[in-house]
């Protein structure tokens, strides 16, 4: 198989994503875990670029890295007195968790390779104006306007709920 720049980029983003993910679940220091989370999220944004979804990649950087990761870091710092480095970070059932995760990975890998092992290239090209089409689909009565509105209500409820719950 020929190695193209695409493959190199894919490998780099895989290292970022999986390495970052591994850091998130193993770091003793929670601040480090949050920074690893940002690395992993950047890797996922790279995948979205490779998959020709540049709008989603931008949203990934803005929403996940710009908002969620920063809020997580805030939460870590607000609970800092217990976020010290010299405490047990994993439950005593961590070995069972490793076994569960690996078993699921093997099962998923088996199914996916069996089912989609023959799809080597995309079945078609992405439409030229995919961002515009996405926007139109989100507000079109024939497509996603109802889920879109429900998502707006969900965000509003979450916003109010967060304020109410976190208030002194």
């Amino acid at each position: 198989m020929e190695v193209t720049p695409l493959h190199i980029a894919f490998a780099a983003f895989s290292v970022l994503t999986l390495g970052g993910g591994f850091g998130v679940v193993t770091s003793r220091n929670l601040i480090h875990a949050a920074l690893f989370l940002i690395v992993a999220l950047f890797g996922v944004a790279g995948y979205l670029v490779l998959l020709e979804a540049p709008f989603l990649a931008a949203v990934q950087v803005l929403v996940y890295i710009g908002a969620i990761a920063v809020v997580v870091i805030f939460a870590v710092m607000l609970t800092r007195s217990v976020a010290g480095t010299n405490q047990v970070t994993h439950t005593n059932q961590w070995l069972l968790a490793v076994i569960t995760a690996i078993a699921l990975l093997v099962m998923l890998g088996f199914v996916l390779l069996n089912q989609f092992g023959t799809v080597d290239a995309p079945l078609g090209a992405v439409p030229e104006d995919s961002v515009e089409l996405l926007g139109r689909q989100l507000v079109s009565p024939n497509a996603f306007v109802l889920p879109f509105e429900v998502a707006s209500v969900l965000l509003l409820a979450a916003l109010i709920g967060a304020v109410v719950v976190a208030r002194e």
């Binding site: 875990a33 995760a101 890998g109 989609f116 996603f144």
Partner: protein
């Protein structure tokens, strides 16, 4: 081109990493971070399936947008709950919060 199942395998690996974090981490904020990893794995899957199997319709991307929205809502409420628990009980260790455990 990169075969579809490479993306699927990476996202499965990311999902399993997140699953391990959810099951094994003691700190509730770390559990939330692991959930974010799992949601991201789902997003890679949705967008990869869209790109490879149905590039003409943008449903896959629309689903990913909804996952973003739900992830943002989940992070906001989850962290608010953790802060509230921390304020009332001075702990963020998930297994210490056992008020409702019989």
């Amino acid at each position: 081109m990169i075969p579809l199942n490479w993306y699927l395998l990476v996202s499965a690996a990311l999902f399993c990493t997140g699953l391990f974090g959810v099951l094994a981490r003691r700190n509730a904020i770390a559990v939330l971070m692991s959930i974010e990893l799992m949601l991201n794995a789902v997003n890679i899957n949705l967008v990869a399936f869209w790109r490879y199997l149905t590039p003409g319709s943008l449903s896959g991307q629309a689903f990913a947008v909804f996952v973003f929205a739900v992830a943002a809502a989940e992070a906001a409420v989850g962290l608010a709950l953790i802060l509230s628990i921390y304020r009332n009980r001075q702990t963020v260790i998930a297994e210490d919060v056992d008020l409702m455990k019989w």
